[in-house]
Symmetry: C2
Subunit: 274 residues, 2 copies
């Protein structure tokens, strides 16, 4: 067995899903990507809370937290101490066209995969950002949710070579900055922290929420707002966040260069406290 | 075995797909829904051509037509003579984040499911349309493609009870008419046929292309254009198209009523000629 690719489906050790599942047919589901450190899933309560909130927005029944916890305990007992945990919740196999079948049981998937290399190396040198040509569509009904409809992210990620760039920067169709392809963005300038509002598109990640809360505790002024590309280029510092990287300082966007700062690394270290 | 739910994955009689497949993880794939009549898939060349065109737009490798044909022959030999055939093509199991792995093999799925009831009954009495509250996002990079990111359709279909309505009418965020939740829309007025342009959102279906071609052969003036809701309400006739229903005349939208016409049924019958 490949211990880096373990999975449970509805609590059973399986790696195969019914082909009629709405997760495959329509991308009708939500997911979470979670860092596992020393065998423990980090930010667990936040992650499960976000999964429940996203499921609620789509009207997908959320399994009991105890079921998720039992699955995760079982899987992590066989997994490397440092790995990536993925929770997937789909609306299940009941399909008669697009319309959801009321009160049908969802599908609960827990997966483990290897921790990507380079996370710490990029944190140390700073991330190189590619400005994506793809613009994110504005869909308030899905904005903020980490759902399984991720073709925009796939197309954006295909735009750049990971040898040259560590992340892509996404704008919406109106030219507002939304965030990274797989991360949220923070703009730091003159002692103030700003991050894009995510009511029209983008994913409101758990790391973003934790960084906002941490900044508030540190009395750092924070604001969610509409942010343009000029503001990004005029930033004193630019940071990316997600649950795996926690925080990456950005070192380059086009010809604009930044030096990673002590503040960035201090915040990054404090985000690690679970 | 449930003969109404047969499936082949990469040519093997299987109903289970690897949980790491990008079709599930990201909705990273395309599909086709095909009417089977007397054991034959209708509009086969058009369907396969559209699947290839959609796959090309997403950069997914298209398997040889002969492979699809062999799968379909095998499956239909065991299936009811009247059923629904679904072809699904995903970017395959190779995943290391959103970025597609170049030259990785796709996953080829062929499925059979029962023909929905009521198609002929609705055709006879006319379809009752619900005006959906959900507005379609404008994403030119995905517009026209029948891809696996269908959460907008799921949310729109959840808005209405199929006891009361046969289809939902979708507008985009700017208020332009796009089409039905699972169909394309045609507006007929004063001898002229118009259908929404689909460069910003929506799916450009095979039935739509066939109806446009048929109208052109019949010297009926046809035009793809921006269409507003007022124009829909002022139509002499309103038609919906997809590969299963072929053409449904619309009988009701809000308080506006229409009578199904001879023209609609004549076109519907001619669409059936393969």
């Amino acid at each position: 067995m490949d211990e880096t690719r373990l999975s449970l489906i509805d609590g059973e050790a399986r790696a195969l899903l019914g082909v009629h599942d709405r997760g495959l047919m329509y991308g009708d589901g939500v997911f979470r990507t979670i860092r596992v450190r020393d065998g423990r899933p980090l930010w667990w309560a936040d992650q499960l809370g976000k999964l429940a909130a996203d499921a609620h927005r789509l009207g997908i029944a959320m399994p009991e937290p105890a079921l998720w916890a039992r699955d995760v305990d079982r899987l992590l007992a066989q997994a490397p101490a440092e790995c990536v945990l993925k929770l997937v919740l789909t609306r299940g196999p009941a399909t008669r066209g697009y319309r959801p079948v009321p009160a049908s049981p969802p599908t609960r998937i827990v997966m483990v995969s290897p921790m990507p290399a380079q996370i710490e190396a990029v944190a140390a040198r700073g991330a190189r950002l590619h400005l994506c040509r793809l613009r994110l569509a504005e869909q308030p009904a899905l904005a903020g949710i980490k759902h399984l409809n991720r073709l925009e992210n796939v197309l954006a990620a295909a735009e750049f070579d990971p040898q040259d760039y560590d992340e892509g920067l996404l704008l919406d169709t109106a030219g507002r900055v939304v965030g990274g392809v797989r991360s949220n963005l923070f703009v730091y300038r003159a002692g103030r922290l700003r991050t894009p509002r995510l009511e029209r598109c983008g994913v409101a990640g758990v790391a973003r929420a934790r960084l906002l809360a941490l900044a508030a505790r540190l009395k750092l002024p924070v604001c969610e707002d509409d942010i343009g590309l000029e503001e990004v280029l005029e930033a004193d510092e630019l940071w990316l966040s997600n649950s795996l990287i926690r925080l990456w300082p950005v070192s380059r966007l086009g010809s604009r260069l930044w030096q990673p700062s002590h503040l960035a690394y201090s915040l990054r270290a404090q985000m690690d406290d679970d």
